[in-house]
Amino acid sequence: MFVAWKDLRFARGRFALMGTVIVLITVLVGLLSGLTAGLGRENTSAITSLPADHLVFSAPADGGTVSFADSRLSGRSVRGWSQVPGVERAEPLGIATAKAEAGSRTAAVSAFAVGPGSRLAPEAGRIADGRAVLSQQAADDLGVRAGDSVGVGGRTVRVAAVSGAAMYSHTPVIWTSLGDRQKLPGGSGGATVLALTTSGSPDLAAADKRLGTRTVTAAASLEGIGSYSAENGSLQLMRGFLFAISALVIGAFFTVWTIQRSGDVAVLKALGASTGYLLKDALGQAVVLLVLGTGVGTALAAGFGAAVGGAVPFVLDPSTVLVPALVMIALGAVGAALSIRRITSVDPLTALGSVR
């Protein structure tokens, strides 16, 4: 990379301009990644933290996709699933959105109703009819603590404990008993889903067919949260476009740069530079630019994320900081590689007698 380093220093204005573009795109990708993960967590953390490997929904009509909002399980399904070989636990969970109030404060919450002794809720032993466990966010929003009373969907329950950070569909979770759920407006049924813990390879499909249900993995069940699938899909699409744009911009820059220096390439080839040497030199230059630009951009995005982390849903971890940076570098390198391959077609003969 002898010539590449010298070029980077000599044409620093051009490379600084390109580097700035990479920094800005990386900042945008980093912020979007952190925000996507943050919003995703606000949508799904109550589900992803369930100690279960599969979730059972009522079978959607017309073979559609599962939905937490539409799922209603019959007592027969709940009882049937607990007897399926290979299913260690089948715990009913009833999910409903509700309005909670305490004094003058109100908050939209998700009521997660569990059966007695369920492992699904934190501090589950304290949950009983008339006694609920609030997530920290719900308690903060309502300004209550353990021992206080809150109204949930018009029914007053006592706060048995404040625990966890579970969120569902952008609302904090209140863990209640299935008995209380039946007294909530629209809570006429029991469980809306079942949380399964399985061992071995149970024949879930056969049980689904027999019990009129649809079972999916816990990870796949997230698509059943309407707000999550729509929101996450849009954000991931934006992120994908940003990755594609960055690869195209970097490719375009190195296309122009390679054309501009094709005379130098011809001279080096005439002097005995192998095509491999020249490709390595040019690709190395692109990677240096990408690593520097992405590094600065990632640091800025991480700094911004750390600063606003409390105010907006933003996740700052390796998956939102390092992974996007590595993808940016990899895609940028691919874009640059496609551009600089024209080095292979530069004819060294043009260096002889050429007027430069």
Binding site: D7, L268, G272, A273, S274, L352, G353, R356
Partner: protein, 223 residues
């Protein structure tokens, strides 16, 4: 170690026919001698140089560089031959704008897999031999045309080539500077025992060379 071209024929496609650029050209340039190849524009001088530089493979004939027949050599081997055995002085200096005078020479070592840093001493020595010891840190745009051409020559010598191919080195220089460059080439050829081919259309410098070959319509008509 010398350069030998034997019955070299080179044709180019020209519409539906083929244009003969070199027609059974034979030329031997012994080590330590400077042979001028002269002729009018389009006579085949540049084609001869390109064949000798292994940049074009002739239709027929033999090209032997420093004892090595180039026939049948793959592209990688020819590239390595250009790097290690052939020095090329371009008509225009063709210096890389981002490199200083010394780095223009150091890059030749890097192409050959050697450390540019370790090659710096030799680069400075060569710059001194062409009278540019005090210009080592300057970039092409900070140098005069004559200085750039002398760096062009020094660069060609960096890897100690057995064969030196020089393409119209004085075409962009005035008579005085052209004469100085030719003197330099003659001196270096004799001192370093290179087999030097000087392509030129300028007959005013022929007194300084060891032999003259004239090309007309692709044929070597006089030597």
């Amino acid at each position: 170690m010398s350069l030998e071209l034997t019955d070299v024929t080179l044709t180019y496609p020209d519409g539906g026919a083929r244009l003969t650029a070199l027609d059974k050209v034979s030329l031997t340039v012994p080590a330590g001698t400077l042979t001028a190849v002269i002729g009018p524009s389009g006579s085949g001088k540049s084609s001869l140089l390109a064949v000798a530089a292994t940049l074009i493979t002739p239709d027929s004939g033999r090209v032997v560089i420093a004892g090595r027949d180039t026939a049948g050599l793959d592209r990688g081997t020819l590239t390595a031959l250009r790097r290690t055995t052939i020095g090329t002085v371009f008509q225009q200096p063709n210096l890389l704008p981002s490199l200083t005078a010394a780095e223009q020479l150091q890059v030749m070592a890097h192409l050959d897999g050697r450390s540019p840093r370790k090659a710096r001493a030799r680069a400075l020595e060569l710059l001194a031999s062409v009278g540019l010891a005090d210009q080592a840190g300057k970039r092409p745009h900070q140098l005069s045309g004559g200085q750039r051409q002398r760096i062009n020559i020094a660069r060609a010598l960096m890897n100690d080539p057995a064969v030196l191919l020089v393409d119209e080195p004085t075409s962009a220089l005035d008579h005085e500077r052209g004469a100085a460059v030719l003197d330099l080439l003659t001196t270096l050829t004799h001192r370093r025992a290179t087999a030097t081919v000087l392509v030129t259309h300028d007959r005013s410098h022929l007194d300084a060379v060891d032999a003259v070959a004239e090309v007309t319509d692709g044929r070597l008509t006089g030597a």
